[in-house]
Symmetry: C2
Subunit: 146 residues, 2 copies
DNA sequence: ATGAAAATTCAAGTCGACTTGAGGTCAAGG
DNA sequence: CCTTGACCTCAAGTCGACTTGAATTTTCAT
């Protein structure tokens, strides 16, 4: 049951260009060509799901690539998973505080946000979190803004 | 109580270059110069805390800049805050699922992750979340990987 | 056989938030 | 006075994950 790139694209929601890009990066591999065109094994779908999982957890592609052993099997250090879980936990806590703060600011009766004590407290917390720890090369906050 | 750029940098943890960059972007303003050198009002610290708050909540700098009214006062649409809070909520839910999944995978006794039913379920969920909705120009997951 | 649609390669562009580098100016201390 | 170090400007570079464009080739339907 071989798949052509368009079919993989359609089933995963990724574009053909992205799949080529992933192949180039060593994240996936085609099993051959028909003419010029790549042919993929159905197993690539599971692999792409795995990659999506890694991405959703915040791993960079480079690191995801290294999670597959040469044989193609998944080979993840369990401590790494645990560490990532802890990291997510920290992120979640921060975001939760932020969400509560925003919610409060949105509902608060104070005429301007700066006059609301709660908002000012949030400000201090955010300042402490965001300003305190950054020394060099800090990746910054999540990118879910729109 | 005027501050020189180095002092603002030191108190906020941002670099002088970042402060100049923020000024260029219209996020902050110096109150004048002493020779060539910028002089900032102490109020810039509060403003930078506000900016940090916005960044921590995931707003892009452009949008943060627009949250200050011409007079310099804070002027945020409460509905925008509410919307952002909801957005954060969604992100938090996703990350929580991911964290639980990673935690499970780390502790799970199955010989390889792919043989663990829970892991495979997570995989489907991650796949659904990450693969289903992306059509064009999706910003991707948060960047807290290391 | 023909022509459109889709795939290919390779290079270059995009986005956001900064950082880095080159070259120049200036204020304070000895 | 003169050095030195912090500051200045402006341009260009960085990072990650793709996207886009141009030129070319191939496949599929008619």
């Amino acid at each position: 049951m071989d798949l052509d790139i368009a079919e993989v694209a359609q089933r995963t929601g990724l574009t053909a260009a992205t799949l080529r890009f992933y192949e180039e990066k060593g994240l996936i591999a085609s099993i051959g060509r028909r003419g010029l065109r790549r042919v993929f094994d159905a197993g690539v779908l599971e692999r792409l799901a795995l990659i999506a999982l890694g991405r959703a957890a915040g791993f960079p592609l480079d690191q995801i690539a290294r999670m597959f052993s040469p044989g193609g099997r998944l080979d993840i250090d369990r401590r790494m998973l645990s560490a990532k879980a802890d990291e997510l936990d920290t992120t979640i806590r921060k975001l939760r505080a932020m969400r509560d703060g925003l919610r409060h600011a949105a509902d608060c009766g104070a005429p301007s946000h700066m006059e609301c004590p709660t908002f000012r407290r949030i400000l201090r917390v955010a300042g402490a979190g965001a300003l305190g720890e950054r020394r060099r090369k800090t990746p910054g906050p999540p990118g879910q803004a729109g």
